[in-house]
């Protein structure tokens, strides 16, 4: 064997890695693989599992699509988005609370007793109003500093959820959050709730697609690439950044409202910084500036989260940590070999 040719010609592994980097087929393979896993799990675990999986997917998909508008399309790396998700979830829990639920509680919180369909727009609005105030401050910052201030927002939001006990019941959380009803029709079943979540996901995806395909989206991509040149051509970039930030936060508030109603229990642990980092990871995993990528990333994440519970060799106490380890390893591999994510066009 010629030793020089053995050392200079690329190995099978190198050729494979080159293909991963260069070819666009990976998105197709990833789609087939991830959806295939979802189908296998559904066949294995039954319809009930599939409905839960699909509902959780819808909620995380809304959340990741909303974050991609800010991180992917506009280039603002926010790690504080979980705060808006929390505002939506707590908004739903607090606004729908009434006396009948109060009997189960150890600490009183205000009784609003709003129906689900009145509370949900209020959650969206509340997230938007908070985002407007926060975004006006955040607009002063860019790049690394932006990451830091959004990190600060996530910490502040978590501590408000934990400490404002008169409203959130602190670490006890709020139980028995309402499921929706329309007139006399109670959407308490999981399948009805899933349909509702699918409808909201389609709305969120539709709005996002419309935004990024319009001239507004073109300006966002320009801001991502060179904000100063965008300003030179007459674009008041601070308004564009603020607008997409608020829209994105409102979508996160929507996802939060659905999450609160779906789990029927809201406590601060669902909105810790780690969750925010996981959310950013989903967006990067799926691909920056790609709505399709966000959907794919959310599905992969939900499968990982729900699916690992069924691995027979993994003790229960390690499941949570193992999920994070697997996601972490996936991210490192992606950054090494596919920095634009599964379906993205931009590198972080």
């Amino acid at each position: 064997m010629n030793s020089s040719s053995a050392t200079t010609s690329p190995s099978v592994l190198e050729r494979g890695l080159h293909t991963l980097r260069e070819k666009g087929d990976l998105e197709l393979y990833a789609n087939v693989f991830i959806i295939g896993i979802a189908v296998i799990f559904t066949l294995w675990q039954g319809t009930g599992f599939a409905i839960t999986l699909a509902t959780v997917f819808c909620i995380w998909a809304i959340l990741s699509v909303s974050l991609n508008l800010v991180v992917g399309y506009t280039g603002l790396l926010s790690v504080g988005h979980i705060g808006f998700f929390g505002i939506g979830a707590y908004g739903m829990a607090i606004l729908t609370s009434d006396t009948s639920y109060e009997l189960l509680r150890t600490e009183a919180i205000p009784q609003f007793g709003w129906p689900f369909f009145a509370a949900l727009p209020a959650c969206v609005l509340a997230a938007g109003v908070v985002a407007l105030g926060v975004g006006a401050v955040f607009n002063r910052f860019r790049d690394d500093i932006y990451v830091l201030v959004s990190f600060g927002f996530a910490i502040i939001a978590f501590n408000v959820f934990l400490s404002w006990r008169a409203l959130t019941r602190g670490a006890f959380g709020i139980h028995d959050v309402q499921r929706p009803s329309i007139g006399g029709w109670q959407l308490t079943g999981d399948i009805e709730f899933l349909i509702l979540c699918v409808v909201f996901l389609l709305i969120a995806v539709g709005i996002s697609w419309f935004l990024v395909s319009s001239s507004f989206g073109r300006v966002l991509k320009a801001i991502r690439e060179d904000e100063q040149v965008a300003q030179v051509f007459g674009y008041q970039t601070t308004y564009y950044k603020l607008a997409i930030w608020v829209i994105s936060a409102m979508m996160a508030g929507l996802a939060g409202g659905l999450f609160g109603s779906f789990t029927k229990f809201v406590d601060p642990n669902s909105f810790i910084l780690l969750e925010s980092m996981l959310l950013v990871s989903i967006v990067i995993l799926g691909g920056l500036a790609s709505i399709r990528g966000s959907l794919l990333g959310a599905l992969a994440f939900v499968l990982l989260e729900e699916g690992m519970r069924f691995l027979p060799f993994l003790p229960d106490e390690f499941i949570g940590q193992a999920r994070q380890v697997v996601l972490g390893v996936l991210l490192v591999l992606l950054m090494l070999f596919r920095p634009q994510g599964l379906a993205g066009r931009y590198k972080l």
Binding site: A222, E225, F233, G234, Y235
Partner: protein, 262 residues
């Protein structure tokens, strides 16, 4: 053709502008912290002129353009357009009639060529006018028409420069500011860029102020030239007078600084 004396004579002593100039900078000073970028610089551009700004690295050439565009920390002086002070907010300047083609091209590589061009005319609400301008720019740069659906990242440096100039023209400017349009380009492309700049000046009658390092190329097409050194105007005149004096040799070799120190 105007000289610095004309500008000085045009001022009324209160820093007011002469309305006969299309664009005028009066006593502009720019400080980057303790570093002086421009020191009381006054210059003027008349309608339809192609004015070159030259000088060694760090002379303040690009800072002149940035000061006009509100991108530099101006600590004194005023920029006038048609005798009226400019609104210094960067995003307002293009609406007042000045378009800027920055150094290094800086096209949006993740947008298509057509999308890049359309970015140049946000302030034009009339869709027909937008289409007319797009058509006119694509006529001027046929290579952009053939590749209009391609991403800008797929273009060569020279093509990106044409795109950057085209994007500036989409704004329909009274004054086009070009910052080193031939930087980093092959000699044959440099020639093409200068020809195109000259065509824009003569055929479209667009007023152009261009900062350039390629002295021979720019003096061949410019109507007038300013030579900057250490944030001040060392000379202004026609390309002929610039060539006749040793000013360029002096500033590039640092002789002007030595004389000042003596």
């Amino acid at each position: 053709m105007i000289e610095t004396d004309d500008i000085t004579a045009a001022e009324d002593g209160n820093g007011a502008a002469d309305v006969t100039h299309l664009l005028e900078l009066v006593d502009i000073s720019v400080h980057y912290g303790a570093v002086v970028g421009l020191d009381n610089v006054s210059l003027a551009v008349n309608e339809g002129e192609l004015v070159a700004v030259m000088g060694p690295n760090g002379a303040g050439k690009s800072t002149v353009l940035k000061a006009i565009m509100g991108l530099a920390p101006v600590v004194g002086g005023t920029v006038f357009l048609r005798g009226e002070p400019l609104d210094v907010a960067t995003h307002q300047i293009v609406k007042q009639g000045i378009a800027f083609v920055p150094q290094g091209r800086r096209v949006f590589t993740h947008l298509t060529i057509e999308e890049n061009l359309r970015m140049g005319c946000l302030h034009v609400s009339d869709r027909h006018e937008q289409e007319r301008r797009l058509d006119s720019v694509l006529d001027l740069f046929p290579i952009l028409r053939t590749k209009s659906r391609d991403y800008a990242s797929a273009m060569s440096g020279g093509q990106q420069q044409m795109l950057a100039i085209g994007r500036g023209l989409m704004a329909g400017p009274d004054v086009l500011l070009l910052d080193e349009p031939t930087l980093g380009l092959a000699p044959i492309i440099v020639k093409e860029v200068f020809e195109k700049v000259s065509e824009i000046s003569q055929v479209l009658n667009t007023t152009i102020m261009v900062v350039e390092h390629n002295i021979k190329g720019i003096l061949d097409i410019a109507d007038r030239a300013y030579v900057l050194n250490q944030g001040r105007i060392a000379h202004d005149g026609t390309p002929t007078t610039v060539r006749e004096t040793d000013i360029l040799t002096d500033v590039f070799l640092g002789r002007v600084d030595e004389e000042a120190e003596e």
